[in-house]
Amino acid sequence: MKVLVTVKRVIDPYVKVRVKSDGSGVETANIKMTMNPFCEIAVEQAVRMKEAGIVTEIVVVSVGVPQSQETLRTAMAMGADRGILVDAPAGVEPLAVAKLVKAIIEKEKPQLVITGKQAIDDDSNQTGQMIAALMGWPQATFISNVTVNGDSAEVTREIDGGLEKLTIKLPAVVTSDLRLNEPRYVTLPNIMKAKKKPLEVLKPEALGVDVTPRLKTLKVQEPPSRSAGVKVADVKELIAKLKNEARII
């Protein structure tokens, strides 16, 4: 079966994010970028399923600026077979991404779509759900396990207070959580091979999707810095502080 995986280019998690001086967003120019870690887990899952003989082809899709081609190349170095970039301006919103991915799904006809549960930049946690809704497909979010059995899949979801096991009919959309797997390190021979794998670049208009943002960012600012802690003399004072100052008991 064919699997479609979405990947997003985000600021490297090791980089300290800075707010732009005009408060319009965060600095991304000339900052080290990398594949969203949850997307990496999604790609890894598809590659493992291919190695296990369940999957025959992995198509990776990214929506974003032209440099997202590097992110697609990384996914192909991990083991994806080909890439599709929808060349869209930075800041394209989840609904637009979901519509674009829907258009590609209709063309590619995968049996399974794997997305990261969220991207570490905006933490929207929407795209996978929206793709499923637009397609009218079953969805299983935050999965830590997936096993395909013919035309259905057994999944384990990480939910508040425990794990939820579900059987979903394919085709479906699943979104990866942290514990689904531990992504491999890309190997040097595969970096070299990835260069030769096909990468198609499309425009949103060609897919008939309007990517105009629907939200307006009013202001982006740093979170307030934490004030210094204080030492309390005894338990009595601690309880008084928790009651009167923190007001949590």
Partner: protein
């Protein structure tokens, strides 16, 4: 503890703008090695180094390698890291494509090597030595030997070592005593080798030792030394691992630095004689070793660079977080992080400037080595070979001396905590300290530079480089009034280098002793000015690129300021070394040994 992050932007800038990566990509066989592919390789190597190798660096230092019953155990986590390293294919980066390597150019492997050294120098000595063995086999071993050993060495399933030193034979290899006696299709070796890095360990399935030894009746001295392959486990004709060879690790050294790597004393042939296989012809061993000397010496220079970069990142992280005192001239108000203090900034800039100069020089030399090997034009080949020959002792000698200095400044930035091992700053200084010693001490490099390189060809290549320096200095004019003092410093430094070079060319033949007495000051002089040369080129290019609106203005303007700092703070020292070269040999020779 800081986290290592590969300086990808500077690496990419140096590769593209100074080392001519595009030209190297255009050479035969490297069409696939586009700048984009190299970016991806460096990014993934950086990630691997950051997540796998860097976290093991401190464990290696504190725990060290351990020896028990002849078996050496690598520090905790090293075996797993090595497996990941070879599974990811990093071991074969520069390896011959016929034996499973990727065959990437030397300039790319140099950049990747820098990353490994920054993250964990002790660890990466193992693959570095393996690549040295591969280099020797590629040039001198028989096709059968190549087929038997090179695939597993390229993959990293087997590792390699170099066995040159004996207790009485250090820098002077003519004193090698290990005996090799012919016994049918092989030789039996008996003797003791010391200072064998990763000579015994549990990371690879087999260890292939390259051993210098003498056959009976071999001529005295360097012309009587042969080179042998002596595997830890004998290798059957079908390539499978056979029985254990007669080699014992009798001890490992207690060292000042690189403690994560075992430095072994190996006893060959204590029982039946260790089985070894001759490489090439008898008595030509040292000559074979020398063919990989440029490669190995540039590699050690890159160790100095790698440690300097890591020490700089570590000191920078400390200076950004350590709060101490107020800004100069402020009597009240908030206390500030120490990076606000001008002297701390000066120290950090000296670390940054020297590291960037070392990087640029090392990559330029590596690219020249690539062009010298495969450039289709013979003149270009020869020109680049002459440049590599000249730059090799400078990269080895100067980058390692500066590596020690930069790591020492890193300790200084930490203040009292720098002297305490927990801060981690001291390890870089201790690790760096070996680099000026092994693979030829700074003194040996300086003698090579003065004798075999500069004087031998009457300063021809050195003068060509000096001519290029003057051209670069002229181009600095476009950087305007802010660069006037930097230009002057560079110009005077070039004059200093030129006068010292002329003095050496003139006096070497008549008084080689006088030249040798000031060879190290000359090497340092050349290093400083060559660093200024590449930094000045960087400044000119950065200046030109700034006019492009899409350029990374923060990076480029920092490069320009760093180059200016280099000229004003470091190049100004060139004159002192030149004066020593011109007039300092007499005092060295004057004092009688008994007067010490």
């Amino acid at each position: 503890m800081s986290t290592y992050s590969a300086p990808l932007k500077d690496m990419q800038f140096v590769l593209r703008e100074l080392a001519g990566l595009q030209e190297v990509s255009a050479l035969p066989g490297w069409q696939d090695v586009t700048p984009e592919v190299v970016d991806a390789v460096l990014a993934e190597a950086g990630k691997f180094a950051q997540e796998v190798l860097d976290p093991l660096n401190r464990i290696g230092d504190t725990q060290g390698a351990r020896l028990a019953q002849g078996k050496v155990t690598a520090p905790d986590g090293y075996v797993q890291a090595y497996r990941k390293f070879i599974e990811a294919g990093w071991n074969g980066l520069a390896g011959d494509t016929r034996y499973g390597g990727q065959g990437l150019p030397h300039v790319v492997s140099t950049a990747v090597q820098e990353i490994w050294n920054s993250a964990n120098m002790s660890f990466c000595l193992a693959p570095m030595l393996t690549s040295g063995v591969l280099e020797a086999l590629r040039h001198h071993a028989s096709p059968e030997q190549q087929a038997l050993y090179m695939p597993n060495l390229t993959a990293g399933a087997w590792s390699g070592t170099m066995n040159l030193t004996e207790p009485q034979a250090g820098s002077d290899l003519s004193a090698v005593r290990t005996q090799a006696v012919r016994d049918g299709d092989h030789y039996r070796l008996r003797g003791t080798k010391i200072f064998i890095t990763w000579g015994e360990h549990d990371m690879s399935e087999n260890i292939v030792h390259l051993v210098l030894a003498r056959t009976p009746n071999a001529p005295e001295g360097v012309k009587g030394i042969s080179l042998f392959i002596v595997p830890k486990f004998l290798v059957n004709r079908d390539g499978t691992r056979g029985e254990r060879n007669d080699i014992t690790c009798v001890s490992i050294e207690h060292k000042m630095g690189i403690r994560g790597s075992p430095t072994c004393v190996l006893a060959y042939g204590e029982a039946k004689g260790a089985i070894g296989y001759l490489i090439g012809e008898e008595n030509r061993g040292l000559e074979y070793m020398f063919t990989m000397m440029n490669h190995a010496r540039l590699g050690v220079g890159v160790e100095g660079l790698g440690i300097a970069e890591r020490a700089y990142q570590h000191a920078l992280a400390h200076a950004r977080t350590r709060v101490q005192g107020r800004e100069i001239g402020q009597r009240s108000g908030d206390r500030v992080t120490i990076i606000h203090h001008p002297d701390v900034k000066r120290m950090l800039l000296s670390m940054k400037a020297q590291t960037e100069a070392m990087r640029a020089l090392a990559y330029v030399a590596a690219a020249a080595l690539d062009k010298a090997r495969v450039h289709p034009d013979r003149t270009e080949q020869r020109r680049n070979q002459a440049l590599v020959d000249l730059l090799t002792p400078i990269v080895k000698g100067w980058c390692t001396e500066q590596g020690v200095e930069v790591a020492s400044t890193g300790v200084q930035v930490h203040g009292g905590m720098g002297f305490i091992e927990e801060s981690g700053a001291a390890q870089y200084l201790r690790d760096a300290r070996i680099t000026t010693i092994y693979e030829g001490t700074t003194g040996i490099q300086a003698n090579d530079l003065v004798g075999r390189k500069v004087a031998f060809e009457k300063g021809a290549t050195a003068m060509a480089v000096i001519g290029d320096m003057r051209g670069v200095n002229a181009r600095l004019e476009r950087l305007g009034s802010e660069f006037v003092s930097a230009r002057k410093a560079f110009s005077e430094a070039i004059d200093s280098l030129e006068s010292a070079t002329r003095w050496l060319v003139e006096h070497y033949a008549a008084s080689p002793n006088a030249a040798a007495a000031v060879a190290v000051p000359y090497l340092k002089l050349f290093g400083i000015v060559a660093g200024g040369w590449v930094m000045a080129r960087a400044a000119v290019i950065a200046h030109d690129k700034l006019s492009d609106a899409k350029s990374d203005a923060r990076f480029l303007s920092a490069k320009i300021i760093t180059a200016r700092f280099y000229a004003e703070h470091i190049l100004t020292g060139a004159r002192g070394f030149a004066d020593t070269v011109l007039s300092g040999s007499a005092s060295v020779l004057a004092l009688d040994e008994g007067q010490f």
